[in-house]
Amino acid sequence: MFYREAGDFKTSYRDDGQTFPIAFDRWRYYFVLLVGFVGIPLVLTEYTANAVMIPFLIWAIVAIGLNILTGYCGQVSLGTGGFMAVGAYAAYKIMTAAPELNILFVVLLSGGVTAAVGMLFGLPSLRIKGFYLAVATLAAQFFLVWLFNRVPWFYNNSASGQITAPERSILGMAVTGPQAGAVPKYLFCLVILFALAWLARNLTRGRLGRSWMAIRDMDIAAEIIGVNPLRAKLSAFAISSFFVGVGGALFFTVYLGAVEVGEAFGINKSFLALFMIIIGGLGSIFGSFAGAAFMVLMPVLLKNLMVDTLSWPTAIAAHFEFMIVGALIVFFLVVEPHGLAALWRTAKEKLRLWPFPH
């Protein structure tokens, strides 16, 4: 009824090609932005910021990054945790080497460093595909974690091998370090996420994104019609790693503040990111958000429900949390193998025909 193109006249090519062709979608998008930038900061507490919203925003960045590589370009990667570690350690080295540099540039530079490393590890993708590439990226994961553990230069020779983020601020408000408030940290992550998501959405709609998808759908055919696989694959690795590196830098500087590589960026993180995009939906920006929300928010919600509301013992709650999240993953994959994004798409199609489906 209200969710359809009818009556929404496009008078230019620009209008015709916009991301949200349906007026209702546009309003919804502005509404979400309003809630994110104004609504949530008004009600944000330290707990919701540090335990829920900030990890969600950061994981959304990482999920978008991995989705570019795996969802759009079809290159399976199990090296996400390692690339996040590159972002985190690059941020640490830059922060300690250049204390006056603004944290925003630190984060972006860390993404750049990760992009270079990602391209290096993306080179094998020119020769190997599928499961074999997954194994090659797995090697990157283990190698990078080992490297950051082994070489004391990366953690400035600290006794414990931990890296700690010093305090940095933007516009006079601390966003890293223990004094940082919930709202500045949240807004800092949100601004970066918004910019990167916007970039990713537009990249995937353009020439570059189409060349990735051509490679994903059939690389030989893509080559025949003139897509350069070297450029397409390496650009996907670079841009994906940039996103993941920015995510890793934020994960360390804003979210945790102190990390050790084995625990914070282990193989579990690679799997977590992969689960996010599979559950959310491969090749979908919305899916990245949905997957990150599912994997980050669900355990916290379940824990709060079982421990605080139902007063269950914490151990039983923890076991149930594993089982419920696992069961939900299986359930969603059985019901909709293409992820939450496909459910969303179906819902939108149904809504377009509603209330007269015939």
Binding site: A51, N149, E167, L256, A315
Partner: protein, 428 residues
């Protein structure tokens, strides 16, 4: 600045706690799941049971009931942060995260929020320097004390000299396991032994290659920094390669019943340092049985009562309760807050007589904390596992660590931390 921050933290605590303020809240960031649960469960049980005992027997501390706020971390730092954020608003008095990784995470946060951390025998060793780490305590001993005590024991076993000996450090490849390296390197130089570092990646279920290396190199001693499932695997592997168990010495987190039981007879003779009493031959256990276990209020199933980690949890809770009592005396109020709790911890003076009064005579070292020294006495004994009797037997008296050497390292490391974080050391 600091005063306003404390005031703000206090105000926040007051607001959040509301009517529940008449309670002393002790959050317990424990882990009953995951690869470290075998070590975490008994500790958490002991910690909780002691406060239950105080509530049931004495009506709390100084007339204030206590409340233990459990939060499952799974030894995972992210969940630890979540737990900290979730519990700090409820008037938490002191955090004991039982994880070096989480401790590192919480040191800056808790210092900013004005809540003390007690990392009892773990965490950041240089937190012993109270002039830099105002809110962090690690009495009665720290990792560097342990490394020094283990080296002394090895020296005693080798007739007073370690010249030309080889010592391997088998350690958890994390902040926890890396802590003693600096001390051992310094000691290696002084005592003339060779130090080999053998890291094991978390969680440590796979140690075949490490033990192959030990088998090949045959170090005279293996020092061991493990936790959770890693302990069980290491002791089993040591038994498999027939490494002489009396030369295999664990830190105090690597010497409890669940660690040695799976290896059966093979674990006989394994040693570890320890700073808490072993077994149930203390008067307090009668009270625990009457007031906690028999009433069905025990945190666990009661099977771990008297085990090494259970007793250590008990000891940790006792130290916290005594610090709270000291704080109540100092400030003349029974409803203390986190800042007052810190004062109590810093003024803590736990004597032998007091421990006997509490029904825990010689249960652990007497502890005296001061403004500059947050590390307590730094003593530990060596205990040995008897696989026949299934008991840990102390084989030495309390050995004192070489504090002169350690203090130098602590000053270095804490000065580096202070410089990095712009902290001006307090005057003490």
């Amino acid at each position: 600045m600091r005063l306003t921050r404390q005031a703000a933290a206090l105000a926040a605590a007051l607001l959040a706690a509301g009517p529940a303020m008449a309670e002393l809240v002790f959050p317990s960031l424990d882990y009953r799941t995951g690869p470290f649960a075998a070590s975490g469960i008994p500790f958490a049980d002991g910690y909780t049971d002691y406060f239950t005992l105080l509530n049931e027997r004495d009506g709390g501390i100084g007339g204030e009931m206590t409340r233990v706020l459990p939060c499952e971390t799974g030894y995972n730092t992210e969940k630890g942060v979540e737990c900290y954020e979730a519990t700090k608003g409820e008037g938490a008095l002191v955090y004991q995260p039982l994880s070096t990784g989480i401790t590192y995470q919480l040191i800056p946060k808790a210092s900013a929020d004005g809540i003390p951390i007690h990392s009892m025998g773990y965490g950041r060793t240089s937190a012993a320097n109270g002039t830099v780490f105002e809110w962090v305590f690690n009495y009665p001993g720290n990792y560097w004390d342990a490394a020094s005590i283990m080296t002394q024991h090895a020296k005693d076993m080798s007739d007073g000299s370690l010249q030309g000996k080889t010592i391997a450090l088998l350690h958890h490849n994390s902040a926890y396991g890396k802590e003693p390296i600096r001390t051992l390197e310094t000691l290696a130089e002084r005592e003339g032994f060779d130090l080999t570092l053998i890291p094991v990646d978390s969680p440590g279920q796979e140690q075949k290659s490490q033990w192959l290396q030990i088998r090949r190199e045959r170090p005279d001693f293996v020092f061991f920094w493990g936790w959770g499932v890693m302990n069980q695997v290491a002791i089993q592997e040591a038994a498999n390669i027939r490494y002489p168990m009396e030369n295999f010495i664990g830190v105090w987190w690597s010497g409890a019943e669940p660690d040695v039981m799976p290896a059966g007879k093979g674990a006989h003779g394994y040693k570890s340092v320890n700073f808490t009493g072993v077994g149930t031959d203390f008067p307090i256990f009668d009270d625990i049985r009457t007031h906690v276990v028999d009433k069905g209020l025990a945190a666990g199933d009661g099977s771990s009562v008297g085990q090494v980690q259970y007793n250590r949890g008990l000891y940790a809770a006792m130290l916290a309760a005594e610090a709270a009592r000291t704080a109540q005396e100092i400030h003349g109020t029974s409803a203390i807050n986190a800042a007052q709790m810190r004062d109590g911890m810093e003024a803590l003076n736990l004597t032998e007589d007091r421990m006997a009064e509490l029904g825990m005579p010689s249960f652990g070292p007497a502890v005296e904390v001061s403004c500059a020294n947050h590390a307590g006495p730094g003593v530990a004994l060596v205990q040995q596992w008897d696989a026949e009797a299934r008991t840990w037997t102390p084989i030495t008296d309390f050995i004192a660590a070489d504090r002169e050497l350690i203090q130098k390292l602590i000053d270095e490391d804490s000065a580096a931390y202070a410089a990095e974080n712009g902290i001006t050391p307090r005057d003490c």
